[in-house]
Amino acid sequence: MWLPLLGLLLGISLGLLTDVQIPTIYESYLSIAVLAALDTLFGGIRAQLQQVYDDYVFVTGFFFNIALAAGLAFLGVHLGVDLYLAAVFAFGVRLFQNIAIIRRILLSKWNDKKAKQSEKAV
């Protein structure tokens, strides 16, 4: 449980300590890539809770989503249409859905636990 959080902390500290910066024109690509990564992450957590998790789906989904989002943003810049909004919208909606499902699963687990405990007490 704590190991992935350690990975997150390691990534943040490495990024802050190395002081890597990207040119301002590529900033939108990075923000949309972060959004895509978060979407995949929560998708993975949901899949794990629903016991349908698969390594390959998770890892390929992570990189594919990032590439797709950045590609869409790139295409949008060149077509003069704000296509990255489509990615933001899609990922945003999915993020909310996934978090809602995770919440429901956790709630039902908690309820089950509570019910079991009260049964034991009786």
Binding site: L3, P4, G7, L8, L10, G15, V20, Q21, V34, L41
Partner: protein
């Protein structure tokens, strides 16, 4: 089984963390806002342009020296080297020069004379301010009471005596001679000094500064002491 499942999560979270940190770095990057307005920027631009043209002039001068060296006859390297040394000496202020310029006269103020007050010595601060004003405005060479101002000149107070190059400046009246590149520059310098507040500063010290007419030829004597150089040393011959 569970440990195996952790690995992709660790990697993905690591990448997300790195991207977030990068995003943070990029967003907070311009910590100081650029608050210069158009005129500030224009002023800076003009300063840079001035420096650009000065550098270009320097390069041109050096190039001409190089081409002189390259084109010299077999028997004349001596002459050209001597010319270069002479030029450098002139630039350093070691030789006497004759150029367009003007003469300033520092005297005790009439009030001080009438009231019978002792004629005060000029203060080093006032003299420094005057030299700075002259240098700011195209004064090429300055001689204060027959003491030439060079790069290493110190204007300071020694035992209550104002000194230039460690030599005491006379009690007023005395002369300050300024050499400029052209007569036009001398004219400009004269009008600049007349319009500046430097005369008021002299008046506060019971002195007057009279600015002479720009002349086509003024003679400035050279620096007659020796330079003490702490940083350069002579190399031995044959190396």
């Amino acid at each position: 089984m569970k440990r195996k499942m952790h690995t992709p999560f660790i990697i993905v979270l690591f990448i997300i963390g790195f991207m977030l940190a990068m995003q943070y770095n990029t967003v907070k990057n311009p910590q100081q806002r650029d608050t210069r307005d158009l005129w500030d920027i224009r002023r800076e631009l003009s300063l840079e342009k001035q420096r650009h043209s000065e550098l270009l002039a320097n390069i041109q001068q050096l190039n001409s020296t190089i081409s002189k060296y390259e084109n010299m006859d077999n028997d004349s390297p001596d002459r050209i080297l001597r010319e270069t040394v002479q030029g450098l000496k002139q630039e350093a202020g070691l030789t006497a020069i004759t150029s367009p310029g003007l003469v300033l006269r520092v005297d005790a103020s009439p009030e001080a004379k009438v009231l019978g007050q002792a004629v005060p010595n000029i203060s080093p601060d006032l003299l420094v301010k005057l030299v700075n004003d002259i240098n700011r405005f195209k004064g090429n060479a300055v001689v204060i009471d027959r003491k030439r101002i060079v790069q290493t000149t110190a204007i300071r107070d020694i035992n209550g005596q104002t000194t230039v190059n460690s030599l005491a400046v006379r009690t007023p009246p005395f002369m300050i001679t300024i050499g400029t590149s052209t007569l036009a520059d001398a004219n400009k310098l004269a009008s600049y000094l007349e319009s500046s507040s430097i005369a008021d500063d002299f008046y506060l010290d019971n002195l007057t500064l009279s600015i002479g007419k720009p002349q086509k030829k003024v003679t400035l004597n050279g620096f007659d002491q020796s330079f003490h150089n702490k940083f350069l040393s002579e190399t031995t011959k044959g190396e």
